[in-house]
Amino acid sequence: MTQTLRTSSEAPQAAPAKRRGRRSATLITGCVLSGLIFLLALVSLVWTPYASDDTSGGRLTGPGAGHLLGTDKLGRDLFTQLMTGSRIAVEAGLGSVLIAAVAGVTLGVLAAFAQGWLDDTLSAFLDILIAFPTLLLAMLIVAARSATLGSAVLAIGLAQSAVVARVVRILVKRVLAQDYITAARTSGTSWPWIVAGHVLPNIWPTLVVNLALQFGLAVLAEAGLSYLGLGAPPPNASWGRMLQEAQATFTTAPAGALAPGVLLVLLVIGVNLVADGLRDTLDPATRRRRS
């Protein structure tokens, strides 16, 4: 194991018990909140109260016995749509984060190892990508591929990969400056081995926290794109689309807008708390500071 990890692994023992308790409370609350939504998404794969295209309900019936949360304008069950929506939100979050992780880590590691003009070019490219509005990127991708969940996920993933890459580049550079890397290099270890054996193990705690935060942002971004009609096409019940559709009827049937709004907030708060909790538990830097 590397030096950094060894020092940090001693740190928790020094932390007061109270702090550790609070930390795990954050993590547990986060896990419960996001876990609920993940569960909803999983269940929707095998069961929903009604079929998603069942328009047999009345128009904008309020919450009641037949329909737990009521129906939308077309008479579709709101709870069914919420469940489908949670699946789309989770898919969007996971998909974007996967793209961001693969592309971001690759680019970030490359940029960190690159020297001179290549480093400058890659950094400039990342800066441009970060400055490029996600919305515009999404519109371009939608124009090229048509509006689907895939297009939205691709746009969000690409935009986030730049952010991830920049973080990874800095983290990797910091690791590369360590003595044990010099030692490894002088002993003839090849670059791929250095990345796999020394760099990644040292950056993953920070990386995981960052990715968890990106997950929350991706869910929000997908809802935003769907709200604008750039996400999953109808009749897919994305929370963003549900919000958009319910906007006009907010005064008469508030459940249609409140329910997806609340779930969206819960999921994002949930994953942010998870990220927070993970940082407290995993990140050596914070642990040292706290102890």
């Binding site: 077309l74 559709e245 006009a248 009827t249």
Partner: protein, 506 residues
Amino acid sequence: MSIKKTSLFGTATTAVLAVTLTACGGGSGGTGASGGSYDKDATVNIGSLYEPQNLDNTAGGGQGVTEALNGNVYEGLFRLTDDGKIEKLLAQDYKVSGDGLTYTFTLRDGVKFHSGKTLTSEDVKYSLEKVLAEDSQSARKSNLEVVKDIATPDARTVKVTLSQKSISFVYNLSYVWIINSEAKNLKTTEDGTGPYELNKWTRGSALSLDRFSGYWGDAAANKQVVFHYYKDATALNNALLTNAVDVVTSEQSPDALDQFKNNQNYKVNDGNSTTKLLLAFNDRAKPFTDVKVRQAVSSAIDDKKLLESVWGGYGKLIGSMVPPTDPWYEDLTGVNAYDVARAKKLLKEAGYEDGFTFTLDTPNYDPHPTAATFIKSQLAKVGITVKINTITADEWYTKVYKNRDFTATLQEHVNDRDLVWYGNPDFYWGYDNKQVTKWVEQAEQASSTAEQTELLKKVNRKTAEDAASDWLYLYPQIVVANSKLSGYPLNGLNSQFFAYDIKKEG
């Protein structure tokens, strides 16, 4: 209804709306009950979602141009009355030659432009040529292309020669604004003959019109009207609730209406519109080349439930392209009516017993996505799979309207008297029936309106039976106003809003 802002259907319609607008100038008027005293110097605040892009109706300014300026600032030789009939406005009289090719117009005497210049035949010639000009973006330009020659024998006489007979010519003139031939900068200023002159246009916010003291007819019943522009319907309704505006030209959601209906300070008016929601098949593309398939799809969709879903209790069902306010209207809701068993039978006869799959190009703004979702769920019951492809208004214009690269699409058509488009095989939906084309041509060259009406009724019935498109429903036209207001237009398109008869209680 954003397509109205961007595509020709919007700019097109506008001036043409025949329905129930209050008579202008010397006309009597309007709606609303209060016959009591009113403030002659009132300012009327009008709330709208349609800000003009510019103030020129031949430069693609959008429907907001017509809403604010048509009849208020600019006038035509004719205008359309409440019941869809043509009435003389700047034309005092006109004669048609025996062969129907020469129209001689005598202009009203003593009409002054806002700049002070007197109206002459030169201005009329200029205005007509402006609509016909190469760079003109007027959507009904093609209807006026029958004009061969415009002569001005004297200051009050205009003589127009047509290349072929056109019974709609006078009707078409009702949306040609008469503009001062010397006017400049028409995109930001104006010089018309209407009862109001432009005071100030604050882009992105408001456009105010002041009563014109030199107006030739009866002066406007209020001193000033201000059009306030909002980006979304909720903000607009809030403006009405807080008295920031006195009237909303066209409500776009039935669900916001309850707050006004149950409040005696407001009046909700349910009028007639000519806006139709169409499931337009590409009649050139398989499987919609087959009449039976089109009929089957039309029969498989419960229009009534869709209308109820989108508009609550408002709006009407239609069985064809013709709204009740067009002269050739017939109730054809019984043709290809909702009947799932019939739809299945027709599909079987057409060889699609196991259904088929098609892509529905759906504009990404209301009500199209809702309608698409509904159609998908309805057609699933007869074995047809719908793939919904959402596109922007611009994409619709390029992909569907210009390139005809589609199988089926959803679109709202706002024009009145637009049945004749089924006579054009080159139109985007590609309905090609030689007999219908012939009837439409004959109708345009008819020597009497009775003959024209008779022929277009045949067109109406034939296109309905053929399910040339599926006409889902007719929009309602809902105007909500403060109860202190009377005399505002009730019906018609939101793109036309005559303000001169609006009276406000003091």
